[in-house]
Amino acid sequence: MTKKTLNLLEGLQILDLTDEKAVFCSKLLADLGAEVIKIERPGGDSSRWLGPFWKNSPHPERSLSFWYNNSSKLGITLNLEVKEGQEIFRQLVNKTDVIIETFPPEYAKKLKLDYQSLVEINQRLILASITGFGQTGPYRQYKSCDIVASATGGQMYICGAPDTPPLKPYGEQSYFVASLFAAIGILVALRERHQSGKGQHIDISLQEAVAATLGHVFTRYFYDGAVSQRQGYYDRDGSFCLLPCQDGYIFLTIDREWDILVNLLDNEGMAEDLKDNRWQDSQYRRQHFDHVVEMLTRWTKRHTRAQLFLLGQLMRLPWAPVNSLPEMVNSIQLSERNYFVPVEHPELASSEGQGKRRPSRPLPNKGGSLGGPPLPGGGPHPPNPISVEGREGREVGDKPLRYHYPGVPYVMTGKYMMRRAPLIGEHNTQIYQERLGLSSEDLKRLKANKVI
């Protein structure tokens, strides 16, 4: 029986006024099939100048960060700082379900983009505002960016080593989690709107988004008074460590699996005094952790990451190689699950690029390639025991101008999309003429007046 499938969020209309702080939020919704119209200032959003760039050459249509974060969206240009632009915007507001914005609260008020002004136009409107510190409180006007959110949200203090300064996690993690929280808030508000017919305002603070994803840090503090410290290579509680191997580092857990670990060392005649009874006591191990690390390191350095990782997984221990980014991209698990999806970039001239590069299939296992076959003993699993409808199969053809994007990290029924990010003003005609009924003369005039 084939059932009809639609995009998961078919029909949901979103206006996207975000900068880099929450551009991923509207991407999340767009990839699920919501119609997201990204509104850029005439000439293009400043985030188009964020690197890295296609072929490493800066250009507003070549920002990979723009590509990734704006996939599946439509794009129009509109000057919100002039009256005519604001009037057009009001017409769009009237027809939309959701607006996502990242303006400083006062600026939004000045442009009448605050919730009070917008709800007068459309009382079903759901407005999501994402700012550094939120819409209220003494810091609401303070400026922020990823490193400030990482610091004030408590993330940086516990990353790094005891002898290094605090360290910001790689990437822009505060924007990432704030976007996730905002997207959840939007869907929660949408469900509520089905009942009440009314929209509402969602207020997301980067600082809180970071603080809300600190795992056990608050629990340890509020129940045990423990202030989590930077621990770097290993956990001072003695539960895990990062140790050097022949070809990099391995993540090992060492507490609950102590006996197994000692056996593994002993098999190679390397357990020495760790076989003594006193090391059975986890308290004792914690007190003499340097010795534990030294002994384990002697052992790990005789092996490759792949050897240790497979050994650990064979014993059902949650060990992992400390992968570089290409190693992750080439992992067999991601490719078997079609995590990477081909995205067409037809406007890039074929003479300019091969457009190839999909994550290469892992090489056959040559004595421990990390992308190698499944666990010894685990046996290969039948592919895709559950439906992967919606996740496109990998396209193998080497057609030019198609790049492999990280896809959506879930498998669901219903279609999702992955279309390249819009070009500057790409959908002006579609939105302004077809949606708002403006004439081509209107468009010409608006263009001449630098409104669009």
């Binding site: 998961l8 810091y139 603070s205 030294e294 390191t297 590069r357 439906s387 029924t413």
Partner: protein, 411 residues
Amino acid sequence: MNKEALQGIRILDFTWLLAGPYATRTLADFGAEVIKVQSEKTASGAEDNTTGYFNTWNRGKLSITLNMSHPQARNIVLKLVKISDVVIENFTPRVMPNWGLSYNKLAEVKPDIIMLSMSAMGQTGPWRDFAALGHTIQAFSGITYLTSFPYKIAPPSPGNDGGQTGQILPLGLGYAYADPVAGLFAVFTVLAALEYRDKMGQGQHIDISEYEAFCSSLGVAILDHTVNDNIASPQGNNPGRSQAAPYGCYRCQGDDRWCVIALSTEEEWQAFCQVLRYPAWSKEERFSNFSARKRHVPELDKLIEEWTIKHTPEEVMGLLQEAGISAGVVENVKDLANDPQLIARKFFLQIEHPVLGKSVSDNTPIKLSRTPARIRGAAPLLGQDNDYVYRGLLGMSEEEVSRYIGEGVIC
């Protein structure tokens, strides 16, 4: 009073540890009825109802006991599935099918049921059965390697000469960040599936891989590799792709006290010099414009630190923010608990637990104006809602319940 946003949504919750309970907690915060399935046989460690951990991740949920290893448990679960909207689990992929509770089996009794399965590697693929913690996922994803300083640092132990070989040592994140991230994707997809169900009348099986969820936080670096063949490397606290100087983490007055500062415009530089009262060096040629400052980052940072070290990070943040410059205290958890902004926004809440007493917890950062989260209270005690669920919802008689208890099914 407004109804709660997710009122009327019933969730059968088989989750444990962090990622899964974090997801169902978020749904409970907004009014979903979350029934956590536990057993006296397994409620220990992270699943011991009277610990702070459990109370943190399971607030506002209901708890029933059901011994899943008993053959009769399955039928009771199917009865519960019939009256639920969503089933969420984060076991390894073999567990639910082994209990005869695969999605297909659930859909037989409730065609539009939404089942979410979240596991380290997803339900398919050669690594599907891998064991993983949040840290494991982080190591796999590349973020452990990438979160470090772009130069070698002192070796961590006598047995480790990584520093001497000139390798960059991976530092990684000091906490299990991948777990809440996966939990957030779970909430997001469940809500999307509910939208879809209401529109199309269809349920579905959602398959979330924690690994993939976390990789999506590194999307730009991945694309830079698949498109350009570039290979991301550790950046320390350098601004990376954003153009900024001065930028970084500066030592302040006190023990292990730091403040981050991030300037991106000339206007901000002028304001910055004013806050520092125009020291002589600020007028030097080598700092006169952005590209010059960018070329002299180490000297510039050293001079700035001579100023920050004389102030507490709170002073630095206050002075700079009042002048319109991005800056922030590097807060430890104690700082967070006393942060005036977090307190003003009620980021912390007090919950009364029958055994643990009064305790503090972090609130949801999702602030809805009209139907805000309403935390129903502490985490449940083990099986405290057996009566409500078995007799109330399933309509079992007292005798029936007693029989199940006697036979070791409800326990």
